[in-house]
Amino acid sequence: MSSEMAPLLQVEGLRKWFDITRGVFGRKVGQVKAVDDVSFTVRSREVLGLAGESGSGKTTIGRSVLRLVEPSAGRVVFDGTDVTSLNTADLRRFRRRMQIIFQDPLAALNPQMTIEEVLSEPLIVQGIGRSDADRRNRAVELLDSVSLSSDYLKRRPGEMSGGQRQRIVIARALAVNPEFIVADEPVSALDVSIQAQIIALLIELKGRLGLSMLFISHDLAAMEYISDRIAVLYLGRVMEIGPSSEVCGNFKHPYTEMLISAVPQPEPGYQRKIFPAGEIPSAASPPSGCVFRTRCSYARPECAQIVPQLRKVAEDHYTACIRDDLSLSRVLL
């Protein structure tokens, strides 16, 4: 992906702080900094992966971009329009261009609705198709695009397997012809043999429909396959961002090194060279300076003072670490 392409999505200084309240009057006693000053872009026809442990803020970022949660500060600009300033009616019109796929397909589908109703609902909401027949044709087309036959129109989610349900959730997201999709852990709840099917389907759809995507996952191996670039998040901040092969193979941030070395490798005899230390601290009281320093084996006293900014290490590749003298281990074979 060349950097000359105009970004389709531009996120600037995004913050989401949740208040911690106590007592019957909801006295504010603190704040959880779920997302703290995050900036990135997604180019047209590009997949950006958001990687990180639970509590890294990856899901909150995905939802803030669609304004399913209201950001506390920052701007989300989609194709020249500031999404954060849209009113409800304009936002609804805008949602035609941006859709979301959730992790748990069983929870994301109404068990009472037939698949035809599931796939027609977004069309009705967005005023697409003049008649039921129109909408049914579109539903068949959508089923076909996720490799399901039209027999599924009359079925209900409970009669389907997890992988088939996730195909329906994807088809529903595609119903309004969006340009941009937030895929929030789309394969995590699925069986191993089904995960690969869904990843292959998403890659195929991306190519065929020219989709841009924010692919949120804790599974870096799957993410490397589908993403053009990857942003690694920790405690609501971007630690490293760059082309996926660089972030996974030539990483520059100690946290990326820790995360990648933790992934179990399906190679007998593989020996892990680095052991992940500690746990992610509470976002209500993040460490000063670099938020990762409490688990970092390369931390120095300065790391407690300075909040590291993203610095360029190569074309399109940035890291938020003040140490530029590190040679991180090539953990992989």
């Binding site: 442990e53 639970s54 397997s161 997890g162 992988g163 088939q164 069986d191 191993v192 043999s193 089904i194 995960q195 690969a196 099917q197 990843i199 292959a200 890659i203 804790h218 599974d219 870096l220 191996a221 799957a222 490397e224 396959y225 996926s244 092969s245 996974c248 193979g249 820790m258 995360l259 990648i260 070395s261 933790a262 992934v263 179990p264 490798q265 399906p266 190679e267 007998p268 005899g269 593989y270 892990r272 052991f275 992940p276 746990e279 992610i280 992989l332 074979l333």
Partner: protein
């Protein structure tokens, strides 16, 4: 069958009653675990891997279990867990065979402190005094890398992270020095960094104590990391078993090789250049199992009249490598 094996599971079947008729969740499963060995039981949902683990401990009261599950006890005698009385099996559970589960939150009681629960287990199973139990619990927590064991003893489970809860569960499970630990997806609900820590501690403790582990998982990466041997299950049957290095380098059953090919591998996108190859289709429903080989509707090597007629036998393809596939010889020949 070797004389010195710790656990011998022979022709075990587990079935449940349902409104649509009996569900035979596990069919004719046989395997053994030697002392000090780590064996992985691998499969997807519905494969019967967890049911097999639970049935070993006689923990499914609603199920009918047939077959023999023969445990060599610490005193050297052998006991068939299937025919043991409830009071006898309680002496086996915890003392000889311990179990940890996927969700440590639901395994701990929210209204008692961690210390109370740990001490209770130690007192019941090992008949220790309170003071001895407390000291033993602190030591057990240290062994699993708990940062501040004294403080942990005073807290409640909701104050602990998922990784810390699982450490408590492991410490409790190991307190009476079982000869076998059954770990049912113990790291599935955890982050990869915490998973790596837990697996490391399990491996370390296994080396120190020499206990055997039956590690139940769907994650092939973890299998390669932790196990000596692996048993692959599909739709309630063992379809392949062997040493981990054999299975990963020379899988004989198309399901196993399919799983390995469908796995995204970190840092290999560039070097391999090949996309992942998904296994088509979906897992069969236990109420409508395919005839013959249960994998045949999804198999690229399917031959009508061969694969869909008789259930293939689990046969030895090599020393200590077993496969359930009518066509494994043909497939192995064409692959060479």
């Amino acid at each position: 069958m070797a004389r010195n094996s710790l656990l011998e599971v022979e022709n075990v079947s587990v079935s449940f009653k349902s409104a649509q008729g009996p569900i035979r969740a596990v069919r004719d499963v046989s395997f053994r675990i030697n002392p000090g060995e780590i064996v992985a039981l691998v499969g997807e949902s519905g494969s019967g891997k967890s049911t097999t683990g639970l049935a070993t401990m006689q923990l499914i009261p609603s199920a009918t279990v047939s077959g023999r599950i023969c445990l060599t006890r610490k005193d050297g005698t052998k006991a068939d867990l299937v025919s043991l009385s409830e009071s006898d099996i309680r002496r086996v559970r915890g003392n000889e065979v311990a179990m940890i589960f996927q969700e440590p939150m639901s395994s701990l009681d929210p209204v008692f402190t961690i210390g109370t629960q740990m001490c209770e287990a130690a007192r019941v199973h090992q008949r220790l005094s309170y003071r001895q139990a407390y000291a033993a619990s602190i030591k057990a927590l240290e062994a699993v890398g708990m940062p501040d064991p004294e403080k942990c003893m005073e807290t409640y489970q909701h104050k602990l992270s998922g990784g810390m809860r699982q450490r408590v569960m492991i410490a409790m499970a190991l307190s009476s020095k079982p000869s076998l630990l059954i770990a049912d997806e113990p790291t599935t609900a955890l982050d990869v960094t915490i998973q790596a820590q837990i697996v490391e501690y399990l491996k370390r403790i296994q080396k120190q104590t020499g206990m055997a582990i039956l590690f139940i998982t769907h994650n092939l990466g973890l299998v390669a990391e932790i196990a000596d041997r692996a048993i692959v299950m599909y739709a309630g049957e063992i379809v392949e078993s062997g040493s981990v290095s054999e299975l990963f380098t020379r899988p004989r059953m198309p399901y196993t090789s399919g799983l390995l090919k469908s796995l995204p591998r970190l840092g290999r996108k560039k070097t391999l250049g090949t996309p992942i190859e998904p296994i088509p289709g979906s897992l069969p429903s236990p109420l409508a199992l395919p005839s013959g080989c249960k994998f045949h509707p999804r198999c690229g090597h399917f031959v009508a009249g061969v694969c869909d007629t008789a259930v293939p036998e689990l046969e030895s393809s090599d020393q200590a490598h077993q496969v359930r596939c009518a066509r494994w010889r043909d497939i192995a020949r064409t692959a060479q």
